[in-house]
Symmetry: C2
Subunit: 81 residues, 2 copies
Amino acid sequence: MLKAKVYVTIKQSVLDPQGVAVQGALHSMGFQEVESLRIGKYMEVELNTDDREEAEARLKVMCEKLLANTVVENYRFELEG
Amino acid sequence: MLKAKVYVTIKQSVLDPQGVAVQGALHSMGFQEVESLRIGKYMEVELNTDDREEAEARLKVMCEKLLANTVVENYRFELEG
């Protein structure tokens, strides 16, 4: 069993309206120090395999095909244990 | 300027319908090895301060008050730079 952490973030050149809204809310709550805030996704995936190399290759395909929209998002993942 | 990474995850005892849906989609795409998948949020926050201790304390308040719903979600954050 391998565990993966997948991070999907919006590319720097793409507007993140959700992040802008949350930043505005924080400002209005008095957190003026928040200069920027961008929101992405964080996924914890358990894989029923012990082959690290295969798991990595297949995770890459999952990200490209479903988990991230590579037109506007970047992804990266870490495999552990 | 400090940079923080904030992770918000759904508590283990709480159902994650989005994760279940994505897991189902991966299964139907042939990724049978996916045993579980849970989806959380990942935020990158830039703070206009150099006081690490204060930044940590204030980030905690931001998480408790807005960024996470502590009834059903856990959060953790890392400060860097």
